[in-house]
Symmetry: D3
Subunit: 237 residues, 6 copies
Amino acid sequence: MRPSGRAPDEMREITITPNFTRHAEGSVLIGFGDTRVLVTASVEERVPPFLRGKGEGWVTAEYGMLPRATHTRGQREAAKGKQSGRTQEIQRLIGRSLRAVTDMKLLGERQITLDCDVLQADGGTRTAAISGAWVALRLAVNKLMAEGAITVDPITTQVAAVSCGIYQGTPVLDLDYPEDSSADADANFVLLANGNIAEAQATAEGATYDEEGLLRLLRLARIGCGRIFDAQLKAVA
Amino acid sequence: MRPSGRAPDEMREITITPNFTRHAEGSVLIGFGDTRVLVTASVEERVPPFLRGKGEGWVTAEYGMLPRATHTRGQREAAKGKQSGRTQEIQRLIGRSLRAVTDMKLLGERQITLDCDVLQADGGTRTAAISGAWVALRLAVNKLMAEGAITVDPITTQVAAVSCGIYQGTPVLDLDYPEDSSADADANFVLLANGNIAEAQATAEGATYDEEGLLRLLRLARIGCGRIFDAQLKAVA
Amino acid sequence: MRPSGRAPDEMREITITPNFTRHAEGSVLIGFGDTRVLVTASVEERVPPFLRGKGEGWVTAEYGMLPRATHTRGQREAAKGKQSGRTQEIQRLIGRSLRAVTDMKLLGERQITLDCDVLQADGGTRTAAISGAWVALRLAVNKLMAEGAITVDPITTQVAAVSCGIYQGTPVLDLDYPEDSSADADANFVLLANGNIAEAQATAEGATYDEEGLLRLLRLARIGCGRIFDAQLKAVA
Amino acid sequence: MRPSGRAPDEMREITITPNFTRHAEGSVLIGFGDTRVLVTASVEERVPPFLRGKGEGWVTAEYGMLPRATHTRGQREAAKGKQSGRTQEIQRLIGRSLRAVTDMKLLGERQITLDCDVLQADGGTRTAAISGAWVALRLAVNKLMAEGAITVDPITTQVAAVSCGIYQGTPVLDLDYPEDSSADADANFVLLANGNIAEAQATAEGATYDEEGLLRLLRLARIGCGRIFDAQLKAVA
Amino acid sequence: MRPSGRAPDEMREITITPNFTRHAEGSVLIGFGDTRVLVTASVEERVPPFLRGKGEGWVTAEYGMLPRATHTRGQREAAKGKQSGRTQEIQRLIGRSLRAVTDMKLLGERQITLDCDVLQADGGTRTAAISGAWVALRLAVNKLMAEGAITVDPITTQVAAVSCGIYQGTPVLDLDYPEDSSADADANFVLLANGNIAEAQATAEGATYDEEGLLRLLRLARIGCGRIFDAQLKAVA
Amino acid sequence: MRPSGRAPDEMREITITPNFTRHAEGSVLIGFGDTRVLVTASVEERVPPFLRGKGEGWVTAEYGMLPRATHTRGQREAAKGKQSGRTQEIQRLIGRSLRAVTDMKLLGERQITLDCDVLQADGGTRTAAISGAWVALRLAVNKLMAEGAITVDPITTQVAAVSCGIYQGTPVLDLDYPEDSSADADANFVLLANGNIAEAQATAEGATYDEEGLLRLLRLARIGCGRIFDAQLKAVA
């Protein structure tokens, strides 16, 4: 049995508050249960050096966790003077995931930065960040289209992410912190609304798994992402 | 006339949401108008090296601003690898202000860290941070007292802060961003509920001021802090 | 057709030179075609702070690429003053992979660090590093056992890794640089000799894939890792 | 009674040696008692990016303390790899103070950097630095005017700074180290020769003060700065 | 007697493997006994800012040591975030030595970077690096001349380096690690094939020496460099 | 002819002001002509980790240059966040030089740090620093002996340093900046009062030299150091 009493294929409550802050072109507070991530999308009329003059845009992400988002206070990365390997790994994943649903030629020579800041953590911060980032990106692109800066929609489909894992021998969906910290295996799937997989990462540090286990986790992820796709659409409606 | 239509001695709406996040011993979301700062108080049963074995506690603060809290996106300090001079100046000010109302002997050999993270900025982030930090500290100390870890209250009085400035020749209270960015002089006062001043900082980069001007700004600050003291009490009631 | 003329399920030549350097407890130069990684295993009789006094060991990894391992010279990370996100991501993966085949209690309170330095890069540096790291770890543990420091073998099975990808629509095994730089999807699998999967990472930045595609890549990885397991055994015989 | 035997409103001896070093456009060694600060003014024919092409100049400052300027050796900031919050706070204050007396349009598109290095510290290093920086700036501008690079004097008036504090219940002027380290309140005032205040900073970490106390400190500061203005004029005569 | 049984004026075996890696314009693995340094020469069609537009080239060097090149593992400089003073001193020496035999006008406006990475250390890594760097530079320049990018050879003569020292009272040539770690004095000479000295560095931390001693060490260095010059010529033949 | 009109074997005026600052155990302002270096010796009752519990002391040095010690302003190393290779090379040389005249057993388990800060530079800053550091060390050790902390003098002899070079074909002593910036070869010698050499460093970046040239420079250095030894003795008398 799961500590939360959830069924193995049951997501936590998904809450999406669009326009949570006012300066960003797109902004959202997303919650997967007690996990809360504030995502903003910032549009800048410039691209990284390697893209200059090519007529293409770029989507990138940064990730951070407030020092006391967690059970015990972690050191502030700005004070330490560097981002941890975990932070860099997550922000690279978020960026790749959103680029998988963006047509860079249609976006035009501009950059959208998705800042994902975890206000409260209870497992699944990276998957909540990706799922929320799509909403922030959608809002920012809507604004660009409303202003006439973009005429054809560069977003090709929805993207969402969810974690799955093997907890006490059972594959479960959307791990919370108590599950995450003692799971035998732990996977994150980034799925597209058109049925494709953008990214699959499955890790076993103590235990291991096989093809069958991988597919079972993926099946749970499809259920979870289905729920997230619905919530995303409601939020941007 | 002020851009917001406020009277010269009129504060923006003060909103204080206690227990905004759940892991920290004390937590609050404070708003001065559109400025929103999340403050958490983290209790740790250790003190900095210079205090070890002296039977005294310590109160310190860290400050950060989310990259898109502002009109245009600022670079993330964790990515740059260092905190700006402004950030360090502000977090030193917050720490001093809260230490001014804490009896370190009564607190005992433990440290309370106040993390002040600006989710949205519209002027006055440091004064909102100080004012919210008192609430977070109060909540954390209440918890320590309820648990019996502390028996006599180490918090001696309330502390609050507000900005004032000379805008188009008129002294005004609680500057918002449009006022702040074009004010002739700009001051921050940290006041105690017992009538004393903990900190006064008044700067004139272009214009200057004299004793008379300084006192007029201080009078406005007393009005503003009175309003904040009331809101703090309601929040912790 | 693959640029190298290889069949889709054909690995490049695997070369493993054990004891390539003399100071380390274990040392190996591993080649996947033109990719060359020098891996050393260093035994230290201490563990990270979080493990002290628990009677358990630790296995960790660091990764680096010589500035001119690649077609054009890259900046030296020591001169830049920080390791890239890519470097950190890779060294975390190597560490997890080797920990998946080590019984930390049997290893005892000591740490083994696997330094993986790429002398020449032609795609697949992280998978060559993992595959070579097992050999270096095996040699170092053999030495500890010969000295009587360890009595029961803490290495539970072999671990190897290989990349796969979809190149011009066809799933292929062990991508070299020309394939890697234009693949539609790109995956790394870390497999154990007992049939289990330690880690699966599949990414699609432009194109995407589905369950079927994921399984096809995994099937190729099983072929490739089989070849590597044989070469590892020969090297440590 | 003050440890030095001075009267409450008595400054320490002010010593100003202009042209202490020879390469800088302006250079001065200033002493407030045993506090010794070397200030150089360096003229560069470029401005920071945010001012380029606007026809305006900039005045900025950097501050440092030699490791053994103090009673016990402090770590060298260049060796630590970063400037402390205190250093940054002070150099920002020095820069603002000098900009308060400079007309940037008249200065023209050039930057003057004031390097303030403390050779020996005995309290009041930041106020000595500001007071000396005015002399170095004056000398550098005189040189620019003598060369014909500037025709109308961009320096509008003199600026000086002094510390005051409440020591054992009595407001005193120009704190030396023994007073500074045990004062109940501690203030720094930056005053202009035209009677205006450029900056007021009053802090109470243990004790606090009120309007009356603030004004009393300010009155002392006016006495002290009067003395400094005279010494500045003699030095540049 | 020397620990290795060598005569006082006997070099260790010199091994030079040209073209050890394939991407660099010049590449060599050089060995002085058990010391192994991989040197690559990278040609870039740009020069440092201070040389732009002057029609001259530049030769520079970087040096690194793999963490387990030594008897006990050293911390990775990229992980520490900075290069040690020793590393910087060595790479400056290598750069100067190679510039001593290069005509920058004939090289033309391009930069050649010599990356010297120690795979295995047994004393004399800096002298092996310099001696190998000449081979890598020679190969890279040969390539530029074969391509017609350079018409007149910019390399004026050969350069080689060797260490000498006073070991147990006797001047000896080419110190290995056991000698180096207990030598009374320790010198490095960089000599040119035309008989001139490019660099002499002789240090005595405990013992000291006089003119006679310095000349005796230099005589040994001439013998050693003669041997290296021969090996260099064979390697590039 | 030398730009200064000096004879080839003529030193600049040597000025040594002992006790230039008051907090350090030893302090001196040394001048070689217009070069001015402030050296302080700080005694601390602790040694670096590698010496703990061995009953031996340590002597080390740090070097810095004020930003405007030179003709044009250099960037402050504390602001850049790292010390240059040149700085590190020089401070390592100063430390070795002073250790060459200190008996670490007699010094006892304490560390003396020599901070050498260049107030004004005109060539020869490292040699002036070494020569002045001996005076500061002597004063600090005298103080320790006067206090009875040390009974037998740990300083074995005097150490001094001077630069020499080949300027327009002529070997000259004690190069000033105009000579240094255009010399054909450039050497620094660290000599002991007992006639021995502690360190010899001779570099030729454009031109080169031979044994004869090296000895001629050394002969000049002996003349120069003789002058410095006299000045040191007068200063500490």
